[in-house]
C-alpha cells in the first residue's frame, strides 16, 4: 500500500489543517501553558535570554544591563538554558515545525535569490526583535496572550501591529515588485 494515497496520512500530515483546528489547538495549549507555568505564552522574550546566554558564553556579561536587572531575570539567567520553560517551548516549535515539514515530504533548504532578500530579512529581523523588546512582547506575548487574558494592552498592540503591517506591505510592494 502506498502511504501517500492513505486518507489518514493526507488529512493529518500532508494537507494543511483547517484554520479552526489550529485556533482550537492554540487556545487549548496556551491555557495549559498559563496554568502549568504561571506565565502567559511568549516567544521573543526567550530569544533575548538566548542572546544573553550566547553573550555570556563568549565571555560577556549582562549583569549591569537594565533589561536584565530584575531579580527574576537574574534568576533565569543563573539557572541556565536547560532550566528555562520558554526555551523548551521555543525548541518545541522549531522541532515540531521540522517534524511537520518532514512528515509532509515538504522539507527543502531554500536558496537565497537576491542580496536584497538578505538585507530585508536581517533588517526586518532586527526591527522586529528590537520592537518586541521595547513593546514588552511580540505578536504572541503582547498580542495573543494579552488579548486572551483580557488585557487592553493586547488590543492597543493589535491596532499598531495592523498599522505597521500596512506600511510594511506598501514598502514591500515598492521595493520587491
Amino acid at each position: 500500500m502506498d502511504i501517500r494515497k492513505n486518507e489518514f496520512y493526507k488529512s493529518w500530515f500532508k494537507d494543511a489543517w483547517p484554520y479552526v483546528t489550529g485556533a482550537v489547538l492554540l487556545s487549548a495549549f496556551q491555557i495549559i501553558t498559563f496554568a502549568t507555568t504561571g506565565n502567559p505564552w511568549g516567544v521573543s522574550g526567550t530569544l533575548a535570554y538566548w542572546g544573553a546566554w550566547i553573550f555570556e558564553l563568549v565571555g560577556g556579561s549582562v549583569d549591569t544591563w537594565y533589561y536584565f536587572s530584575s531579580e527574576g531575570a537574574q534568576r533565569t539567567l543563573d539557572a541556565g538554558f536547560l532550566q528555562h520553560g520558554g526555551t523548551m517551548q521555543n525548541l518545541g516549535i522549531i522541532i515540531g515545525a521540522l517534524f511537520a515539514s518532514l512528515a509532509a515530504c515538504q522539507f527543502k533548504i531554500k536558496k537565497l535569490k537576491t542580496v536584497r532578500q538578505v538585507v530585508a530579512a536581517v533588517l526586518g529581523g532586527l526591527l522586529m526583535g528590537y520592537g518586541a523588546r521595547i513593546g514588552f512582547g511580540c505578536n504572541i506575548g503582547a498580542l495573543y496572550s494579552g488579548i486572551s487574558s483580557l488585557s487592553l494592552s493586547g488590543w492597543v498592540f493589535g491596532i499598531f501591529l495592523f498599522a505597521g503591517a500596512y506600511v510594511g506591505s506598501k514598502l514591500l510592494v515598492k521595493f520587491f515588485m
Binding site: 515539514s101 515530504c105 515538504q106 522539507f107 531554500k110 537565497l112 535569490k113
Partner: protein
C-alpha cells in the same frame, strides 16, 4: 494561446501572490500562467485567489516542497 512561466522560487508570502496577480493582468483570456513556488503558504493563497477570481486552477507537486500552480485565465 500563450504559456507564461513565473519563477517565484525562494520568494516568501505575499510576493508570489502579488507577482501572479500582476502577471495575469497582462495576459489574454485562455492564456496559461504557471507559477513556480516553494513556499507552502503560497501553495494555499495563490490557488485560493485564482479560484475566487473565477479562473481554472490546478496544483502540481513537482518535487519535495516545490509546486506549480497552473492558472488558465478565464475572464
Amino acid at each position: 494561446m500563450a504559456e507564461v512561466e513565473l519563477d517565484c522560487m525562494g520568494e516568501a508570502c505575499p510576493v508570489p501572490l502579488i507577482k501572479a496577480e500582476k502577471a495575469l493582468e497582462k495576459m489574454a483570456i485562455g492564456d496559461i500562467l504557471i507559477v513556480q513556488i516553494d513556499h507552502s503558504c503560497a501553495m494555499k493563497n495563490v490557488p485560493e485567489w485564482a479560484r475566487k477570481e473565477g479562473h481554472n486552477v490546478e496544483l502540481d507537486e513537482v518535487d519535495d516542497g516545490e509546486w506549480e500552480v497552473v492558472i488558465e485565465k478565464m475572464k
